[in-house]
Every structure is written in structure tokens, then in C-alpha cells.
Symmetry: C2
Subunit: 276 residues, 2 copies
Amino acid sequence: MSGTGHFADRLAAAVEAKGSPLCIGLDPDPALMPEGVGVVEFCRGIVDAVADVAVVVKPQSAFFEAQGPTGWAALAEVCEYARSAGLLVLADAKRGDVPSTARAYAAAFAALADAVTVNPYLGYDSLEPFFSRDGLGVFVVVKTSNPSSVDVQDVELADGRPLWQHVAGLVDLWGADHVGESGLSSVGAVVGATFPREVAEARRLMPRAVLLLPGVGAQGGRTEDLAEAFSVGPAAALPSASRSVLYADRGAHWQEAAAAEAARLADELRAVAVAG
Amino acid sequence: MSGTGHFADRLAAAVEAKGSPLCIGLDPDPALMPEGVGVVEFCRGIVDAVADVAVVVKPQSAFFEAQGPTGWAALAEVCEYARSAGLLVLADAKRGDVPSTARAYAAAFAALADAVTVNPYLGYDSLEPFFSRDGLGVFVVVKTSNPSSVDVQDVELADGRPLWQHVAGLVDLWGADHVGESGLSSVGAVVGATFPREVAEARRLMPRAVLLLPGVGAQGGRTEDLAEAFSVGPAAALPSASRSVLYADRGAHWQEAAAAEAARLADELRAVAVAG
């Protein structure tokens, strides 16, 4: 279950302790995983490989759900294992539904993880059940890393802005009542690392939000383009890599290769986050 | 797993056979369920109660996920039971993620259900993995039944329309390649029954989409306001009730009360859908 204490404050302490704001996505895809290695075994191996250099792991719910009825138990086991290894756990679930349903989702993910990603399309009352959970971090999807994110997120509004900037304004407003001692809110935002200009603009629009920046590595996001995200502090952004770390080597050396790639990214981010 | 054959054609055949387009949402909330009745037992009981008059049941994934590791197995069992009772199963999951993740979600839900709800905020490439699954119906969230749906869905665009109408246009476009012999597309849309004017406008913007209309009953949607949704055929809309049926009686007579309320709604809809 979500730990005690304000999420962003716990994150800030973890970044200070480890010196780098790295997040590793756990996307266990049987088509890419080393042969003969199961989902839980693989994820535990990745956790062991990255625990010294990463602050957060981000299990992607979809890959566990795709395992059928055993998937949710696997997700719970991996979350528990990562937390016992001293990592914060961010469940990447992108949920969003009407209030009575949102309360059920918030309960489901608060039981598993320290934080969760959510989708803003249904508005405030669909996310409030997450915001009001003590100790739970919430990352609202604002501008995503995929090419088709333009279809809806970049539609031009009557005031000339793209839609995602309106959503960023809502996230800043929604997060105002949830700012911790670190100066950061437990209501954060997801902004694709593949769009550096949007990352910089998101920083200006949401000065108190932790920015989760997925898409580093395989999707093309580069750490050196993310410096502005850290302009309000070294824990104010969480660049996240998944496939480039998990599948750095798809044979016998998968664990060593993942550890090496995570360490390399952590070093890069240490420079970026401190300079930011 | 999703049945064989075009989803909208199977739906049209089911509506013709039963004479009414009723969908019943399965939202098993332990706080509202009769005492001593488990989630699977409750859902099976509701399936038995409504199977004669409903064409679709819509299990809400959140309430199963809130059960922890046993929840997904319960969801699979309920889906299987409903299908063996001759009902189509629509998994209400509102998923949406980047393409590699969307493929995992599409696999997860195609293994469970005949159709699934998805969220459009991430654009085409996040939904294409669902659209391209043979036999799977896909309902894209367009305008939801909750009060805060205005926060994002009703934002005014540069062309003067609210955002949801832009999304409706995308759904019509995306669904064009997936039209069955019934004239209806396997790419449908979710439009809250609580907004009758928007339902009528959605019908005009998406003439080939099956409109899933949640919010009948407890949320305030009234069947008599939904006639325009059926202007292109009796299977062109699926009004859905959840709490008003499931919790019609919260004591010993829950099953009889649910059956009676579902039969009453089916009668109302028979008139509306034929007149539409």
C-alpha cells in the first residue's frame, strides 16, 4: 500500500539520498524478455539491477493484465519486492472514470503502489478520489510521448493554446492544495521526454508539479534535453526509461546489461538535474 | 475471448432476438452489495436475473481490481459466465496508452470480453491496437455522464466547437474502415445518458457508431430522452444502467428486484428504440 508521508517529500528525500532522479519502467513483454524467464522473475531481476541507482520503478499495468488472472498477483508481488528494495513504486495505469468508479480504482492502486498515473479526460471529479488518498502520488497525463498525441492533446483552443496546456493549468490548480514541505505537490504530470519544448513549457505552467518524463531511450527522448524540467529542484522531474534498460541485452547477460544502462542514465541525469 | 464475427453485427442480431437494446453494468461494490454475498456470486446472480431481457452486460474493471489479486480471476469468471448465458460482454476499462502498451491492453481485454471501452486522450496510435483486433468492439469515451466532464470535454476549440465534438469526428473517421453488414461500425462511442442534447448531436456526428449511453437510473439519465440515438436503427445505441438495477433491493430480494427493474427498463427501451 502507499507509504506514509507526503509523496513528493518522500521522492525528494530519495533523490537526495541517491543523487539522481531516475525512474525505470517495468514493461515485462514476453516477446522481448530473455527466453525461459518468467514475468515476476524478470521484474525482480531488473529491480535488483537498478535499485542502487534508480529512485522509482514504474510497473506498467498493461503487461501484467495481459498475463490473465495471475497477472494481478504478479503485479502485487513485484510492487512489494521493489518497495522492500528501497524503491518508490509508481503504478502506470492511466486510469480515469466517473467518481464512484474512480474511488474503486484509487483503492486498488493505493493498495499496491506509492503513486499512480491517471487520465484527465473525465475531469476533476474523476481524479479527486486519487488526490484525496493520504500519501498517494498522482501523475496526470498531460502531453504524451507517442506520435498520435497530437490528435487530441494538440488541438487548438479558442484562446490559441493547444489543449494540453489547458490540462496543465488544471493540474497546477488541482495540485495547489497538495504541496508538501519540499515545495512540490503530490499531484504531478506526465509529459513525454520526446517533446523537449513541451517539457520546458510544462515546467512553466506547473511550477509545483513533479514531471514524469517517459520516453527516454527506445522512444527517442534524450536526457540532455530535459534540463529545464529541473529548474525548480532536483526532484522536480522523473525521467523514465523502459525498453532501453529492460532489453539492453536479451540473452544471458540481461541483468548486467540493464544495470549498466541504468547506471549510465543515472550518471547523465545527475549532471542534468544538478545543473537544471 | 472476443467472439468471432463483426461485433456490431453480433450486437444487431442480439437486439433483434431480444427486442430491446438494454445493457446492464456490473459494478460489484461491497459497500452496496447484500451482506454475505461475494463478488462472483453477486455478479452471477445479476447475470441470471437480467439474461432474458438484456443484450449486453458491462463489468466495470475497477470494482474487480479493487478486490486485489483475486479480482482479475473473478472478472474472467464473470465474463465467461455471462457469455455462457448468451450475453455479449463489454469490459468497461477505459484504457489508453502508448502503442506498445496498448497492444498489451488489447490482448488482455480481447481474452476476456466481446468489447471494451477506451480513452481517446492519447490519439489514434493508442487505440489502433484495439480497432485491429478481429471481432472486438471498441467504445471510445467521447462525452461522459459525470458533472466534471465539462473540465476537458467541453473546452471551446478555435473553431467554436467543444472538444468532445472534435473527438466524435475522430471516432467517425476511425470507425469508417470497420463497418459491418448491419451498417454499424465496431468502433463505437461512449456518451453519457445524462446529457440528452449531446446524445442527439453525437448521433449526427457519428452516424455509424453504436452509442453506449451509461448513466441511466442512479446517475439521472432517462430512457425517454434517448430516442434520437436510435434514429439509424434499434441496435445503434446501448443505454446502460448499473446501480439502479444492481442495488434495487439491498436485502434478501436483490435478485428478484434486479430482474424486475431490468425488465422495466427493457420495456421502456423497446418503445424508444423502435420509435427512434
